[in-house]
């Protein structure tokens, strides 16, 4: 075990995974919420655009999205998310494009989870909100979404857990996260392969299991009693 930690920068790999997961989760939550609002709103073109986004992104492999981000958007179209002339330009751009890819992909799933949450809110709630004179935005903000989020915690937990594990795809564009450590480890220390598997699996289980349990508990606590 000590050998592994001495030879590879295991902690920074784990840290990179957490960094990717944290920022992608926030990004996916924001974009996913906007998409869900577009899909349930009264404007036809937004409905269609939201549905098109979800169906396109949800059915595209994540590896493809992340690779496309770096190779097409960054290298071919020269969109820089970090200064071109900085000495860490490649690393920074890689990490940031990975976050973009993860965000874009998981936003589709957040949108659908949230829409399922909106379906738990009885139609009467929205009708009552409108009948007391609230606008669409107001009824969404004050009445529907707060209940929808509480009803969507359980499916959101699944999306978050999937997101954390999907950060491993970022190794395809060279981000030095946990999957890259695993690949390095297996290449240079095949004699310790079993230990590497246990370490990586243990890291993800330790990260996702308590999260799943806590969020499931929370979803029961916060569920709107009807």
């Amino acid at each position: 075990m000590g050998e592994l930690f001495a030879q590879f920068d295991v902690w920074s790999a784990f840290g990179q995974t957490l960094y990717l997961a944290f920022f992608s989760a926030i990004g996916a939550l924001i974009i996913g919420t906007i998409l869900a609002i577009m899909r349930v709103g009264p404007v036809g073109i937004f409905n269609k655009a939201g549905a098109a986004y979800v169906n396109l992104v949800r059915n595209t492999p994540l590896t493809l999205i992340i690779t496309f981000c770096l190779i097409a958007l960054h290298y071919q179209l020269k969109i820089y998310l970090a200064p071109e002339d900085s000495p860490t330009s490649i690393v920074d751009n890689g990490v940031r494009w990975a976050i973009v890819g993860l965000t874009v992909y998981h936003a589709a799933f957040v949108c659908e989870a949230l829409r399922s949450g909106i379906n738990t809110v009885p139609t009467g709630q929205a009708e009552a909100a409108r009948s007391i004179g609230l606008t669409f935005t107001q009824s969404l903000r004050e009445v529907v979404l707060p209940q929808a989020f509480r009803g969507a915690i359980a499916p959101m937990a699944s999306v978050l857990i999937a997101l954390i594990k999907n950060t491993t795809v970022a190794y395809a564009i060279g981000v030095a996260e946990t999957a890259a450590f695993m690949r390095d480890g297996l290449e240079f220390r095949p004699d310790l392969s079993f230990l590497i598997f246990v370490l990586v699996a243990g890291f993800f289980v330790l990260l996702t299991m308590p999260l799943g349990i806590a969020l499931t508990h929370l979803s029961q606590r916060l569920a709107v009693k009807r």
């Binding site: 190779i71 000495p87 190794y171 390095d184 240079f188």
Partner: protein, 271 residues
């Protein structure tokens, strides 16, 4: 009750894993058939083109198999990460897959050979001015995650920026178009890419190797007898001129000069 049921389930699961692990073995050496692990995706070394195998590794493997008296050769894909396990579980008998001999790998497998000494080199655009790793300071280098080559360069030249991908092929277009400055790995692999029709004339191998990769034949740990037989076959291949023929056939078209100071190598003693 709950616990015992869980234990029973765990027991059943471990049994299933054990069984499937055993299922992979069987039918190793013996008879006139042999299973050989090669790369399926390295032009010039080991390439599976719709069931037609070609490349230097394939030619050496075929020669050795013939010398061992095996007439039925089955090629199995051996990706870098799985090579040790393929041998340990008996899914292949020999591995010829740009398999550098290293001490860490010797913990799990034994090696016959080496049958070729490659070196780490750079692949650059045809009009590039880079002549060696010393010119790379501040430049952008491409390689794959988990490759020895990239690690070496990074250690010696900290000013280099490294873009890793999961496959070498992603690097190629970026180097051709000048978005990245060079691709580094074994010169044999680079030569194979440079010779591909799509990249002919657009890429060149710099030709200043700065490391030594000794390609060995992976086989079951401790099988000294098989190792000696393979070494004898390799020596015969060199002395009969077949080795040189295979080199010319596979590396010649790429304009890749084999370092004759180290090649052909003498096989190590078996242990």
């Amino acid at each position: 009750m709950k616990i015992s049921r869980f234990a029973a389930l765990a027991g059943a699961a471990s049994l299933a894993v054990g069984l499937s692990a055993c299922g992979g073995g069987g039918g190793a050496s013996g008879g006139d058939s042999i299973k050989i692990g090669i790369k399926f995706d390295q032009p010039g070394l080991g390439l599976n083109d719709a069931g037609k195998y070609s490349g230097f590794d394939v030619d050496v493997a075929n020669y050795v198999a013939k010398e061992l008296g095996k007439t039925k050769v089955t090629f199995v894909q051996a990706p870098s990460k799985q090579r040790e396990d393929l041998i340990a579980t008996g899914q292949v008998d020999l591995i010829f897959a740009t398999y550098s001999i290293t001490d860490a790998r010797k913990e799990k497998v034994s090696f016959a050979g080496p049958y070729f000494i490659a070196g780490q080199d750079l692949l650059v655009a045809a009009d590039s001015t880079i002549t060696g790793p010393k010119d790379l300071d501040g430049k952008k280098l491409c390689s794959v995650t988990g490759s020895t080559s990239a690690d070496n360069v990074k250690k010696d030249y900290p000013g280099v920026q490294l873009q890793n991908f999961d496959t070498y092929s992603k690097c190629l277009d970026l180097v051709v178009n000048g978005q990245l400055d060079a691709l580094t790995t074994d010169n044999t692999i680079l030569a194979g890419y440079a010779a591909q029709p799509a990249y002919k004339g657009k890429l060149k191998v710099v030709g200043a190797p700065f490391s030594e990769e000794r390609y060995g034949v992976g086989l079951k740990k401790g099988d000294v007898e098989l190792c000696k037989k393979v070494n004898t076959a390799l020596e015969k291949m060199v002395s009969s001129g077949e080795w040189q023929k295979a080199v010319d056939k596979n590396f010649g078209p790429a304009g890749f000069k084999v370092d004759s100071a180290t090649n052909p190598p003498k096989p190590d003693a078996c242990s």
